[in-house]
């Protein structure tokens, strides 16, 4: 089954998509890029060996929610690629509201039992509320690591937790299994956020995280930890666009342990997700395992450059969740 085509086919007959061409255009264009996250409800369904069709309303709801979130996120970030640049902030806001509601409609139109639908609607609504709060916290820019992780818990983890939870709910999984899958999704979301920060921070030319003085995780580490290059880093951070400032700052991020810290945080979450998965009765664990492994794969690749195999590292990292 092509989940992207199925998602579009499920949503387009809704009256709002028939009467609002911009919504149709956006949905179809994004579906054509096959966003990885839209597959998450399907992965939960397949892990439970339930028919893939059960996941379609969940994928549709998630697709609408994600479009809504990013329409707003682009405005908050002043992202030059944002839809608001083309149609203006007011119309982009209207579209965001419409997609948010379309996500709820996608679930309410599902053929699942009324109790399952209600639970799924509650899950999506709670995620949207939490994410909105997370976005509000994020624009205030975290000044310390407690604030940073609080934002991640509100802004990134709920979306991915909800994505997998919706798939499990519509597949009528047991409550404990649904909860475990949601937790795995949340950890996965936190890992995605760490990768996001690493990618943005290490990108060339300077990413908006640098230019707008946003405290991505590696930058926050280099600004707050007392390492020998801290004063120089603060100086470079003040104006990253001068000369070789970006390159020098990125080299400091590696040297001071900021990248190591991010890797440690990725490994810890990977370990926790694996432990939850090991204790979750699923007919097809491999599909969830593959999801978790894909998000830690760049870390194993990095250690391979140091001559350290993933097996060696898994051994020494075991028991980390107890620390």
């Amino acid at each position: 089954m092509d989940i992207y085509q199925s998602t579009v086919d499920y949503l387009l007959p809704f009256p709002i998509f028939s009467s609002w061409q911009e919504m149709r255009t956006i949905l179809q264009r994004i579906a054509s890029t096959q966003p990885r996250d839209w597959r998450l409800p399907l992965i939960a369904c397949q892990a439970l060996e339930e028919p893939a069709e059960k996941a379609i309303p969940a994928s549709a709801a998630l697709a609408c929610a994600q479009i809504s979130i990013i329409l707003v996120d682009d405005m908050l970030d002043d992202d030059p690629r944002g839809e608001y640049r083309r149609i203006g902030s007011g119309r982009a806001s209207n579209l965001a509201l419409a997609f948010q509601s379309a996500g709820l409609e996608a679930l309410s139109r599902s053929t699942a039992s009324s109790s399952v639908r209600l639970e799924a609607l509650n899950s999506l609504n709670k995620m949207m509320l939490t994410t909105a709060h997370g976005q509000e916290l994020d624009i205030q820019n975290p000044a310390d690591e407690i604030s940073y992780w609080h934002i991640v818990e509100n802004k990134s983890a709920p979306f991915f937790g909800c994505a997998i939870q919706l798939g499990a709910l519509l597949a009528e999984a047991r409550a404990d299994v649904t909860k475990n899958l949601e937790q795995i999704g949340q950890l996965y979301g936190e890992m995605i956020q760490i990768h996001d920060d690493l990618n943005d921070t290490m990108a060339v030319p300077a990413n908006p995280d640098w230019l707008q003085k946003r405290n991505a995780l590696p930058i926050l580490f280099a600004l707050t930890v007392e390492h020998p290059d801290r004063a120089r880093f603060i100086e470079l951070h003040e104006d990253i666009s001068i000369g070789n400032a970006l390159q020098e700052a990125q080299e400091i991020l590696i040297r001071c342990g900021a990248v190591s810290y991010c890797v440690d945080q990725l490994i810890r979450r990977h370990q926790m997700a694996q432990e939850i998965l090991n204790n979750t009765p699923l007919a097809n664990k491999d599909i969830v395992d593959s999801l978790i492994e894909a998000v830690i794969a760049p870390v194993w690749k990095l250690f391979e450059t140091l001559g350290i195999s993933p097996n060696d590292l898994s051994t020494v990292a075991s028991g980390l969740s107890q620390q």
Binding site: F159, H195, F221, Q250, S260, K301, E304, L313
Partner: protein
């Protein structure tokens, strides 16, 4: 909670790290920028923008 500072203290503790998980993490600090690029990925929760051309708008 102050895991950043305690993490830095741990990986900076030199000889105590031998053969440990922390030693592996501390070795990352000696990588070049080019080597560290092994960490780069398309793992972001807004990944569709990376699949569009540079001139394309984010969602349209």
């Amino acid at each position: 909670m102050n895991t950043m500072k305690s993490f830095y203290a741990s990986i900076s503790s030199g000889s105590q790290l031998k053969g440990s998980y922390l030693e592996a993490l501390s070795e990352i600090t000696s990588l070049s920028y080019r080597q560290a690029q092994a960490l780069q990925s398309d793992l972001t929760w807004q990944n569709w923008s990376q699949q569009n051309s540079e001139t394309a708008t984010r969602v349209a």
